[in-house]
Amino acid sequence: MARRRGLWNLVVYVVLVAGAVFFLTPFVWMISTSLKTDGQVFAIPPEWVPAPVMWSNYRRLMSEIPFLRYLANTVFVTVTSVAFYVASSAVVAYGFSRIRWPGREALFYCLLATMVLPPQVTLIPQFVMFQKLGWVGTFLPLIVPALTGSAFAVFLLRQFYSAIPNDISDSARIDGASEWQIFARIILPLAKPALATASLFIFIWTWTDFLNPLIYLTDDRLYTLAIGLQQLASTRAAAWPLLMAGSLLMSVPIILLFFFAQKTFIAGVSTAAVKG
């Protein structure tokens, strides 16, 4: 029995290591390419070790495209969106959980339905609407809708608020606290872990978003990294060291964020998928 368990464990390790190689190799290839010369990229057979190591590719990337400007744009859109989405969702989730009123459940089902609605169904009229407002070519179409909350964040926060005992609110009411005070002074501070999870997910979605910036950011001074990189790829299709350097730089913040917030992340996934 013990020997069989040992054999089984060995098989598990071999499979896990082989899989890990499949998952890591593309990263290694990305880093390696970003440090190669323009000539070494097209070596046959492909070479894994950059020789010489071209750190200057990263400087070249900065001069080839206004990388820092795109980075600043991305940071601005992402941080604003996260702040708007999380603030509004925190308020909305309170109305969907801590106060009882007729019609609440029906409206909550509407909110859930928006999560499975294909975005293509609303895309075109939204574009026409923003066009008529003169907002196409500005950041406004990307950040203003965030003020109305994210269905996912509302769902997540509502789950969290609902688990807070009602006695806390009731005793505050007896002390004469208004509903807003209960929300802002009692419930919100308790909900910090859920707010962190929601912020994390929205950060990743906005940072990586491609379709919305593609449609709305027509002015190249407003490009986000996603669009700037795609633009570079379509004008300099063979500039693989630069493209890989850009891809890597765009991924680094997300990867760091994941390392620092792994627990928050896993907690969010399990609330959304398993307990929902």
Binding site: G19, A20, P26, G95, P118, Q120, T122, P145, G149, F210
Partner: protein, 293 residues
């Protein structure tokens, strides 16, 4: 209604009002407007002109529409089982008490948070038939590698291969589900002398089935909306072999400015999604729900 109830109604509405306003402006109105646009000829510049069912009959006669449907269903029908199966296998392996569990979990999960643009560029280069390491590896094995994204016969399998790199997302969901399986069930199975396979078949699988259903639904929804990775990896080519539904819809709307036609496509997409989801729920007898306390 008592005063208290009326007060709570107004309070509740006040708290949800940011969402309610957004729901009306950014969802309800656009859904109705796109239904209206789908019966019109509309190029944004001039006012929409009513043409009845023309967009829908044109869709049926549009060979590219059929082609995009075929491509999308192909990618979903092959891609979803592969990604659900692979992520389940990885999750099951990682759920064993293995050393470096955290490290493995990170390695498998990380690719799924890489921005789609970056991942798409990376895979375009990784699968390069002449200069990429995949074909070099195949060549070492004595196999002459295919043209991958450049070959109409291989472009769809190439997209599926690239998408499997991102299965970490569903893997984490499976892991969360596995963590929720009560240990007592496994202990009972052990007492009954269950084999490893029987433990999996009669304990793990039923307890995990709601999570499998969740991943299946998410898989269907996302594969019908696949856009960014394909836009960047192939742009729909070669010979339209990877022209998927959302990409063709985007082209009609924002490159050809056929907003009416694109709106009709959006409504067909909505109908397809609804039918697929109802179909999945109707046939979800295999899902085991434990009695909720």
């Amino acid at each position: 209604m008592t005063r208290r109830q009326r007060r709570d109604l107004w309070l509740g509405l006040a708290f949800v009002s940011p969402w309610l306003v957004g729901f009306l402006i950014f969802t309800v109105y656009p859904v109705l407007a796109s239904l209206y646009f789908s019966f019109t000829d509309y190029n944004v510049v001039s006012a929409p002109r009513w043409i009845g069912m023309r967009n829908y009959t044109d869709l049926i006669n549009d060979p590219l529409f059929g082609k995009t449907l075929y491509n999308t269903v192909y990618l979903a029908a092959i891609g979803i089982p592969f990604s659900l199966g692979l992520s389940l296998v990885i999750a099951l392996l990682l759920n064993n008490k293995v050393r470096f569990q955290g490290l493995f979990r990170t390695v498998y999960f990380l690719p799924s948070v890489v921005p789609a643009v970056a991942a798409a560029l990376l895979w375009r280069w990784f699968l390069n038939p002449d200069y990429g390491p995949v074909n070099e590896f195949l060549w070492q094995l004595g196999v002459n590698g295919p043209g991958w994204l450049a070959d109409p016969g291989w472009s769809k399998p190439a997209l599926i291969l690239a998408s499997l790199w991102g299965v970490g997302g569903s893997m984490v969901i499976y892991l969360a589900g596995l963590q929720n399986v009560p240990v007592a069930l496994y202990e009972a199975a052990d007492l009954d002398g269950a084999s490893r396979w029987q433990r999996f078949r009669f304990v793990t699988l039923p307890m995990l089935s709601p999570v499998i259903l969740f991943n299946l639904i998410m898989g269907i929804i996302t594969s019908f909306q696949a856009f960014t990775n394909i836009y960047i990896m192939t742009g729909g080519g070669p010979s339209n072999s990877t022209l998927v539904y959302a990409l063709y819809l985007y082209q009609n709307a924002f490159q050809f400015f056929r907003m009416g036609y694109a709106s009709a496509m959006a409504w067909v997409l909505l109908a397809i999604t609804a039918v697929a989801l109802v179909g999945v729920f109707r046939t979800s007898g295999w899902v085991y729900y434990e009695a909720r306390s």
